[in-house]
């Protein structure tokens, strides 16, 4: 499981990309009611850091 920051066309953080163990991907919005985003925040609060956005 790997998280990666995805920037929008303006260069701002637009979403979080999650690559699952089976290599499928989902794009997670920055919405605190979204349970995938809640899991990302929980994962990050444990000291983990996502892969940075592409330049």
């Amino acid at each position: 499981m790997q998280y990666k920051i995805i920037n929008d066309a303006y260069g701002n953080v637009g979403s979080i990309e999650l690559t699952k163990e089976d290599n499928t991907k989902i794009s997670i919005p920055l919405d605190e009611a979204n349970t995938d985003y809640q899991e990302f925040l929980s994962w990050k609060s444990e000291g983990n850091e996502p892969e940075p956005a592409d330049e």
Binding site: I6, S15, I26, S27, P29, D31, A33, N34, D36, Y37
Partner: protein
Amino acid sequence: MSLALNGTNGVTYNDGTLQSSAPVGKNLIINGDMKIAQRGTSATGIASGNNFVLDRFIFNTGSIGTWTLSQDTDAPDGFSNSMKLQCTTANASPTGTNWCNFQQRIEAQNLQHLAYGTSSAKTITLSFWVKSNKTGTYTAMIYGYDSSPARTISAEYTISAADTWEKKTITFAGDSSGQIDNDNGAGFNIYWALGTGPDRKSSPLQTSWGAYDSTAFVSSSQVNLADSTSNYINITGVQLEVGENATPFENRMYSQELAMCQRYFQSFGGSNVADTVGQGTSFSTTNTYVLIHLLQTMRSVPSLGYSAVGDWRLHYPGVIGLEATVMAIATNESNNTKVIVNTTTATNASMGGGKCIQLSADSTINARLTFSAEL
């Protein structure tokens, strides 16, 4: 039709049932008759985590066997479908807190009429049809998210006859000390345990509402459905309603049930090999924003799932057939009624900025976009 008023308990209908709540909209469970399967009708090799096949129901397993989950046509009279769980790799001796279960989470704002946290807290009744080769004691539980600490109540039920449909009814007292927030988060999780390691059943079962105790969540007599690859369980007709009695299952039309499911999950694509799922505007020579209007207002801004990026292409103006292969997909500036899909392609001078673009399947029936706002 004859009716008999029955004091403060409700109305007795001519089929003998005492109905203490309105028959329309009484069932707090969505897809209780297992007829909606937007993600597909089966999944094999399930060995870990939370898994969805039939809408709204989660199958959770942690190191207890491997399973096939499917929509089955085996069902009691009056139902067309059930959810079937078949053990395909056994684990006869689960350890620690490892367990498997299926669940449905209910949105908190749909539970406000239960009046939890007040002296008027309502009694509720869970009913369902179940069939299994493995007889014995099982456990159903309710987990209330919004109290701090979370509060739970559990109850045993028994599957008495092998390979036979049986209707089970469990009544839970209201929780005058509990709390259910009036929001779009999870209020209840309804659990059905299928097997557990010793650590979840080492204390006497908590059969009254109280603070969550992981050691008292599952009955010490709970069977282990994972102990043989011969084992299966089917369930359908799931209903949770206000009152002390189980009333007849609330049959909703397919369109109603689908719309209710689409508050939590929607799927686009897959109807043909060139299926178009949305249109948008090119933002640059590499990025296009494709607008997709959601079919229902979703619970939250949804996560965007997608099949392989190679399943997709963009059509843009010019000579017929001009197209670009998609290299990346992301949600962007979305809300719970619409999603903007940011697609990235290789630099393509013909695409430019401000051109009308169409996102379509690239010659495959497998191209899917999914939107999930599950609890």
